[in-house]
């Protein structure tokens, strides 16, 4: 079983994000970057599949050269090798160009399963996996909160508004996992040491034979304005000295709720 896991490096989600008023993009300079926590679940899901069925996990990430660190982190968790898709011509890629570049880099690889997060924590469009599936002509099993693989098929419990659906597709397939699917392992020291010697291949636009239809040149959309949203005003804040519950009940009565 060969598993590809797509991971993205993102600005530390615990630090409030900022948009650059000039470029209208997320400020990435001087900000700590991490492997997207959502994608850690994708890596974990991939590792669990191969631990059960045998095989190898390859991590793939598109980004600037420093996205190598995100790949190393996934390798330290236990994945076997990495592919870093990086090229100045890929800068400012939107979701569709990202999917196209990843599809380009995947060509020629043998794989049974491609695992992604449901949505990136910084962009949260959740578009790349479905676009990738479309470009590769593969079925997409999305929003998995459970994944089982066997008999040339993958089965997931797919999150719904009021429960889940059991969904099946033949391999190869693309799967997106939700945060609830597993507890992502923490890399052990040994894993971190081993990760340093694992192979990470770098590929650029030329290697993939992709034309100039990438990055900035292929944008399908453009941000034209950023402004602050109208904020909600704070109301009254009272300390509970025994009358707090009564105060809430009075208010509910005022609102004609009771």
């Amino acid at each position: 079983m060969n598993v590809l896991v797509c991971v993205k490096q993102i600005p530390d989600p615990n630090v409030p994000g900022k948009l650059d008023p000039q470029s209208k993009r997320l400020v990435r300079e001087g900000v700590d970057v991490v492997l997207d926590p959502g994608d850690e679940h994708a890596v974990e899901a991939g590792l669990q599949v191969i631990e059960k069925d045998g095989g190898e996990a390859t991590i793939i990430s598109m980004g600037p050269p420093r996205a190598m660190e995100a790949i190393r982190r996934a390798l330290a968790m236990g994945a076997h090798r990495g592919i870093l898709v990086t090229d100045p011509g890929l800068e400012n890629s939107d979701a569709l160009s990202t999917a196209r570049a990843i599809a380009g880099a995947i060509k020629g690889q043998t794989y049974d399963l491609i695992i992604c997060g449901t949505e990136s924590t910084d962009g949260s469009s959740g578009a790349v996996p479905a676009q990738l599936a479309e470009l590769l002509g593969l079925p997409l099993l999305s929003f998995a909160k459970k994944l089982e693989v066997g008999d040339g098929k993958a089965q997931i419990d797919r999150q719904t508004d009021d429960g889940y659906d059991l969904v099946e597709a033949p391999l190869p397939a693309v799967v997106t996992v939700t945060g609830g699917i597993n507890e992502a392992r923490y890399p052990a020291l040994r894993g971190i040491m081993q990760a340093k010697n694992k192979e990470v291949k770098q590929v650029g636009l030329q290697d993939m034979g992709l034309d100039g239809k990438a990055g900035q040149a292929a944008l399908t959309e453009e941000v034209v304005e950023i402004k602050a949203a109208e904020a909600r005003k704070a109301g009254e804040v009272v300390e509970d000295k025994g009358g707090g519950a009564k105060r809430v009940a009075d208010y509910l009565a005022e609102l004609k709720v009771i």
Partner: protein, 323 residues
């Protein structure tokens, strides 16, 4: 006039609530066509007309219900090529997201996710997307060829019937749906049991966070909710801890709700939570930390311990209801 399409998801012939919101928005932008797919979809035609659809494409093949995304993408791609709409609106639902994303790759066209609004701008479209927990609004314009695909968050637009309602022109499609061998098929559907109103529809929501201290303390919220006829919601911290299933989660990666009253109990009010509930008409918060960010948007905030206040509140409500 601009052709605005709405991907009209139905469940057993009833349009999902977000579809009525999409139609309300769509009819302010141009001439509306709805595409309703799956068994019993034709039952939705009247409602779709009431909310502004002038034309409805219907295809009732069960494959649209039982196979994820691809049959809908095939059909939409074909219809779009024929009619060349300017804009296609989808609800930001599980299926809406899969279909719109795949379709964008098929057509190589702009896809804008997480949108809250679409407006006319210089003869084109400008799409508004809230970011950073809704504190900042980003406006995006498409650069690719039409149609632009937009995923709109549920509850971003208030649904209102059109007046007058139209009796839409209906085109029923019956051509064979070829799902191929590489399909993702739904084998079984499981519903988690829930009592009381659904979160999405509830007028009152009682929502709990990590401040409740332990999963069993959610019983207090169930009791309070039962007294108020409210639905129970939760923060992600609570869902991640396994105290409540994901279907309870409110926020950026959970549900967006818009009740008339939202009672946040032991919830700090992180941006990723508030983005999902700050559309509530009235917000009441109970938290022991006077600095908790939730107080910045609460209409009434009580600084105190949930373990004393909530049981008292249940008693208060009961006695006022004459029990």
């Amino acid at each position: 006039m601009a052709g605005i399409w709405v991907f009209a998801e139905t469940v057993d012939g009833t349009p999902k609530p977000v579809v009525l919101e999409l139609l309300t928005k769509a009819r302010s932008l141009g001439e509306v066509t709805a595409v309703a797919l799956g068994p019993s979809a034709s039952k939705a035609i009247q409602t779709l007309g009431e909310y502004g659809a002038k034309k409805v494409y219907v295809h009732e093949d069960p494959a649209f219900r039982d196979v994820l995304a691809t049959p809908a993408v095939d059909l939409l791609a074909r219809l779009i090529e024929k009619d060349q709409p300017d804009l296609v609106l989808f609800g930001m639902t599980y299926d809406g997201r899969d279909v719109a994303s795949r379709l964008s790759a098929r057509l190589w066209t702009a896809l804008i996710a997480n949108a809250s609004d679409v407006v006319n701008k210089d003869g084109g479209w400008a799409i508004v997307t809230p970011v950073f927990g809704g504190t900042v609004l980003v406006t995006t314009v498409p650069l690719a060829k039409a149609p632009t695909l937009v995923l709109i968050r549920p509850k971003a637009v208030a649904a209102e019937p059109a007046s007058p309602a139209s009796a839409p022109q209906v085109e029923t499609l019956t051509d064979q749906v070829d799902t191929g061998t590489r399909a993702a098929r739904v084998l079984r559907r499981e519903k988690e049991k829930a009592s009381g109103p659904k979160l999405e529809d509830a007028a009152i929501i009682v929502s709990g966070g990590r401040g409740l201290g332990a999963p069993e303390n959610f019983k207090m919220l169930d009791e309070l909710a039962a007294e108020l006829g409210a639905a129970v919601g939760a923060s992600r911290a609570v869902v991640d801890a396994g105290w409540k299933p994901y279907s309870f989660q409110i926020g950026q990666t959970g549900k967006t709700v818009k009740p008339s009253v939202y009672i946040a109990i032991g919830i700090s009010g992180a941006m990723q939570h508030t983005v999902g509930m700050k559309g509530a008409k009235t917000i009441i918060a109970i938290n022991k930390d006077p600095e908790a960010p939730i107080f910045k948007l609460a209409d009434l905030g009580i600084v105190g311990d949930v373990h004393t206040i909530v049981p008292q509140l249940i008693q208060e409500v009961r006695s006022r209801k004459g029990k």
